[in-house]
């Protein structure tokens, strides 16, 4: 870093404020940016959406934001969602665009880990798994295992992925905008079910309060710098598996520093689409995602689920 860079980063840091990485506190206003594109969304086009979203979310140039958030020495985990195969998993175009920006910010390719629960899931979704070497890393928890100590917190008691606990210093959460047959929707918070060894135990009562409880764990809260919800192709019914008849090309990325506000916004988008298609609301379907409201309650304080405290900006 030369003197010019140093000054630039110092000034940017001061301008963005020391709170850039501070977890959102419920009660303050949260911003959710919906960056919508049109036409074919290749990696270049997705990158444009991403930069636009970042700039509106942080109020600064995208390049500067990436450099402020990430830099040399960081090991950044990109938590994708790959259970539904190629049809309804985090798009490679989005992951590619994020990885490029991280590299531009000074993160070494080998310090970027694209991860999910299992190698097989990643491969099914079209990712090339790779561990070692100087290129992007891409592997499942089954490759490195779970941290051996049982971590017990609120209603959750689980083993956690070593990738999350031991390897990553920061995480970008990259879930998919989709319906879920038990929990109502599976968005940002629920994506961390892919980091524990026993997600099957926490779907009772539509995931409430387990999903909220899980996300209060410090290493999830503190390491997750950003959540980018992949809504390029979204699904309003029949999830989590890919059901093409219930998808629509929403063509958007949703970004927020407040994962609860982001999930609430995603939930409302799915409700709106369901209403348009003549489907019952998630409450009527018996799977209202109340865990999102729980995450905002005084016990959890993970973010905002009150629409009056969420500023949704379409760009």
């Amino acid at each position: 870093m030369d003197r010019r860079d140093f000054l630039k980063r110092a000034i940017l840091g001061a301008a963005l404020g020391p709170g850039l990485l501070r977890p959102t506190i419920a009660g303050t206003r949260s911003r959710v940016v919906v960056s919508v594109g049109k036409g074919r969304l290749d990696e270049g086009a997705v990158g444009v959406l991403l930069d636009r979203g970042i700039e509106v979310l942080f109020g600064a140039k995208a390049k500067d934001v990436w450099q402020e958030l990430f830099g040399p020495g960081d090991v950044v985990g990109l938590k994708v969602n790959c259970l539904a195969g190629r049809g309804m998993s985090t798009r490679k175009e989005l992951v590619g665009a994020v990885a490029r920006r991280l590299i531009s910010a000074g993160v070494r390719p080998e310090d970027i880990v694209i991860w999910d629960r299992a190698n097989a899931d990643l491969r099914k979704a079209g990712y090339r798994t790779n561990r070692g070497g100087n290129e992007l890393q891409c592997y499942g928890t089954d490759e490195v295992g779970y941290y051996p100590a049982l971590i017990q917190h609120m209603s959750v008691g689980s083993l956690f992925s070593r990738i999350l606990i031991e390897q990553c210093t920061k995480v970008i959460n990259l879930p998919v905008l989709k319906d879920h047959g038990i929990c109502g929707v599976t968005l940002g918070m629920k994506n961390f079910f892919g980091a524990i060894h026993n997600p099957n135990k926490y779907h009772d009562n539509a995931g409430d309060p387990y999903i909220a409880d899980l996300n209060t764990l410090p290493f999830i809260r503190q390491k997750t710098v950003l959540t980018i919800l992949d809504g390029l192709l979204a699904q309003y019914e029949g999830g989590p598996p890919y059901m093409p008849q219930w998808t629509w090309p929403f063509g958007a990325l949703l970004l927020s520093k407040d994962v609860v506000a982001l999930d609430y916004t995603g939930w409302q988008i799915i409700e709106k689409k369901r209403a348009e298609k003549g489907l019952p609301s998630l409450r009527e379907a018996g799977r209202e995602p109340l865990y999102i409201l729980t995450a905002a309650d005084p016990q959890h304080r993970l973010g905002n689920a009150d629409p009056s405290l969420i500023e949704v900006i379409y760009v």
């Binding site: 047959g181 135990k201 029949g238 598996p241």
Partner: protein
């Protein structure tokens, strides 16, 4: 007898075989191969499920009746929907096996002093916060490097290790139902019986079918309150009560274990109510084992059960009229032994897993002749 070279060789070989074969049998040690890749799932179609529209299924094996989407798994984590067909991922893949005394299960009225070839796969259909085997019961198949052993190989291993029975135990056998069933069938072909050590959280029809191939069942009865079942085990009480009544109706031998956990299920009122229910619905001859809790898994904030609490439970159960009440996990306690309910003499003496049948012959007390219920031969 006129010795010829042929007859000499024949007799010599026979004598050698008679001498050394039992040694070979005694030294038999099953060697099941380990799977190479835990993610390489063996697939056997599940037996109790219904197909639903859009490739969904409903599992009807246990009372959860999970509705499972394509590519998803049920609560147990060992059954997966693949394109609208439901599969068990643990068939033929035990994660552990041991030769145990039958008293370890515990089954006290079933072939005392014999060995049980004990197996388990990973997975469970409840999540008890006090689970002592959570490292296998609360994980998924890909998180364990399992053995590979067909039902035939399990039955053979049980036979050659001198076990009278195969025990399906440690985690929860309901979730490896198909494997258990087929092992029991193979075992019976070799004269080896089968016992299921279960939480009883199973639907009536699968249980009924299973009883055709089982010889005894032990039910871990967690508590006599719905609150305990839902808060501490993530299950429900009613289906377990129904299973117990069904076992009684079928007539298969079964025993009950009640792990007494301080402050959670040890109130005298609860224990008294449970004993009354047992006497009314199951009869006074069902063996009931009060066992000692030790802090485990998610329940580490409570102390081990005081022996006095167990003794209080024992007194309540005896006072209510149960004939065979035991105290477990307290080696050397006199309530480990079996006494005749009529004459009070000791019939089976136990210290830990050491067993001596003292006063029982042909299923009767040798002192007073009272019939002692159980499976004795």
């Amino acid at each position: 007898m006129l010795w010829t070279r042929r007859s000499f060789v024949k007799v010599t070989l026979s004598a050698s075989a008679a001498t050394f074969l039992p040694c070979l049998v005694r030294s038999y040690f099953p060697r099941f191969p380990r799977e190479d890749d835990p993610t390489d799932e063996s697939l056997t179609e599940a037996r109790h499920y219904e197909k639903l529209p859009y490739k969904k299924i409903r599992c009807v094996l246990c009372p959860r009746e999970c509705v499972v989407d394509d590519q998803e798994r049920g609560y147990c984590g060992v059954r997966e929907n693949r394109g609208g067909k439901y599969y068990t991922l643990v068939y033929g893949k035990p994660c552990t096996w041991h030769v145990d005394p039958i008293e370890k299960k515990p089954l006290f009225h079933f072939l005392p002093g014999t060995k049980a070839f004990s197996i388990s796969t990973v997975g469970c259909n409840v999540e008890c916060h006090f689970c002592q085997n959570w490292q296998i019961s609360q994980i998924r198949p890909e998180q364990s490097t399992d053995y590979i052993a067909s039902p035939l190989e399990i039955a053979r291993a049980a036979y050659y290790t001198g076990c009278e029975s195969i025990a399906y135990t440690y985690a929860e056998p309901v979730i490896f139902y198909e494997y258990m069933y087929d092992c029991a069938v193979e075992g019976h072909r070799r004269g080896v019986r089968s016992v299921m050590i279960s939480n009883g959280y199973i639907n009536p029809e699968p249980m009924r079918q299973l009883c055709d191939v089982l010889d005894a069942v032990k039910i871990d009865f967690k508590a006599y309150t719905e609150r305990f079942y839902s808060n501490v085990c993530h299950g429900h009480l009613r289906p377990v009560l129904d299973t117990l009544v069904l076992l009684k109706e079928i007539g298969i031998w079964f025993e009950m274990v009640y792990l007494v956990i301080p402050t959670l299920n040890d109130s005298p009122d609860e224990i008294r109510s449970m004993c009354r229910w047992i006497i009314e619905e199951l009869g006074p001859d069902v063996p009931l084992h009060f066992t000692r809790f030790f802090p485990q898994y998610k329940l580490r904030n409570l102390p081990p059960t005081p022996v006095k609490t167990l003794e209080r439970a024992w007194k309540i159960a005896k006072g209510e009229g149960l004939n065979f009440v035991y105290i477990g996990n307290v080696p050397g306690h006199k309530a480990e032994s079996t006494y005749c309910p009529s004459c009070g003499r000791r019939l089976i003496y136990r210290i830990g897993y050491m067993t001596e049948v003292e006063g029982l012959r042909d299923g009767r007390c040798v002192y007073c002749g009272r019939e002692i219920p159980g499976v004795w031969k």
